[in-house]
């Protein structure tokens, strides 16, 4: 089972991208499961995905990078055992730290033959200044970006060119090793490239 994380701050477009990726991978014959984490106990994103016919497991009541990491391990185990997906996509909360999730998964890697796919972190180019200047947010967003294999500059359809350039330079400074892609989950720009990266990535 390949495990792919699609992370990023609140409202960065994770759910929309996951819907597009999952649909494409499923149509290509891959068995896809999605593990969704909402901060509140009453999850919303998982309900939306279920309505679109996807195999979804919801984890609510806290963040899987810290508060409910044990619940995530248990859910992953159940998914691996009962559904046997080729790919499981994790949508963490918008405040989750991707490497903390990887560490939390650690004990299950051998047991369920898990391989890590890419950690994709979305960055909302329309709100770049806010994320890169607010005192507490910059710590969180920078940590998320540092943990990325791929940084997807999202909402490029809605951001002016100078904001996109500013975003690109800023995220490159934060994580020079990450591959940077431009994306619009809404229009579909760049989605195929992300899907290819999910398929081809080997840790």
């Amino acid at each position: 089972m390949k495990l792919v994380q699609i992370a990023g701050y609140l409202g960065s477009g994770k759910t929309t991208l996951i819907l597009a990726i999952s649909k494409s991978l499923s149509e290509g014959g891959q068995k896809v499961a999605i593990l969704v984490n909402d901060v509140g106990e009453v999850p919303v994103d998982g309900k939306v995905m279920q309505e679109y016919g996807l195999e979804v497991k919801d984890i609510g009541g806290g963040c899987i990078c810290c508060q409910v990491a044990g619940n995530m391990r248990k859910t992953l185990g159940l998914l691996a055992k009962n559904y046997e997906p080729d790919i499981t996509i994790i949508e963490p909360t918008g405040i989750a730290v991707p490497n903390a999730i990887k560490e939390a998964v650690g004990p299950e890697v051998a047991k369920f033959q898990i391989t890590f796919g890419p950690t994709i972190v979305l960055f909302d180019t329309t709100r770049a200044e806010k994320f890169l200047t607010y005192e507490t947010l910059i710590r969180l967003v920078s940590t998320q970006l540092k943990d990325a294999d791929i940084i997807a500059l999202n909402k490029v359809d809605a951001a002016p060119e100078d904001k996109i350039e500013y975003s690109q330079e800023s995220v490159q400074d934060i994580n020079p090793d990450a591959k940077i892609m431009k994306l619009s989950s809404r229009t579909g720009q760049g989605v195929e490239e992300i899907i290819k990266a999910v398929r081809d990535f080997t840790a």
Partner: protein, 140 residues
């Protein structure tokens, strides 16, 4: 209202989450006169702008993400906002008019206390529900 708030039961929380508070609630909503799809979409959109506006008025530094899910016998709607009143998303599958639905709301806000997020969310739900002549269905 039947708030389901468990954040206080869980720990430890990552220090990187400092300053971000969240609250989720779910309730059953009813109205004797059937609610059309169009009206339901307007309700969802107004709920988003009202919660967001209340949080900003109360001192939020940033609307992290406010989301709602409306589930009923004939379809569903999901709505969300990042704080810009001109950019509220409402999508889903419309159906025939309905008399009741389940409403789920999640508010994640930067720069407000947990209590303030609870108050803003609950007060906004009540206000918008009343504006559309909707009542909370109790006893289930």
């Amino acid at each position: 209202m039947n708030p389901k708030d468990v954040n206080n039961l869980l720990s430890p929380i990552s220090p990187l989450h400092e300053g971000i508070s969240s609250y989720g609630l779910s309730c059953l909503v009813t109205r004797q006169k059937a609610i059309s799809s169009d009206e339901l979409r307007k309700f969802a959109a107004e709920l988003m702008t009202t919660i967001s506006g209340t949080c900003i008025k109360d001192g939020a530094k940033d609307i992290g993400h406010i989301k709602a899910f409306i589930e009923h016998d004939n379809g569903f709607l999901h709505a969300d906002t990042l704080g810009d009143p001109a950019d509220v998303t409402v999508e889903g599958r419309d159906g025939e008019p309905i008399n009741h639905f389940k409403l789920v709301v999640n508010s994640v806000i930067y720069g407000l206390t947990k209590e303030a997020v609870i108050n803003a969310t609950e007060a906004s739900v009540k206000t918008v529900r009343a504006k559309f002549g909707l009542e909370e269905k109790t006893g289930e």
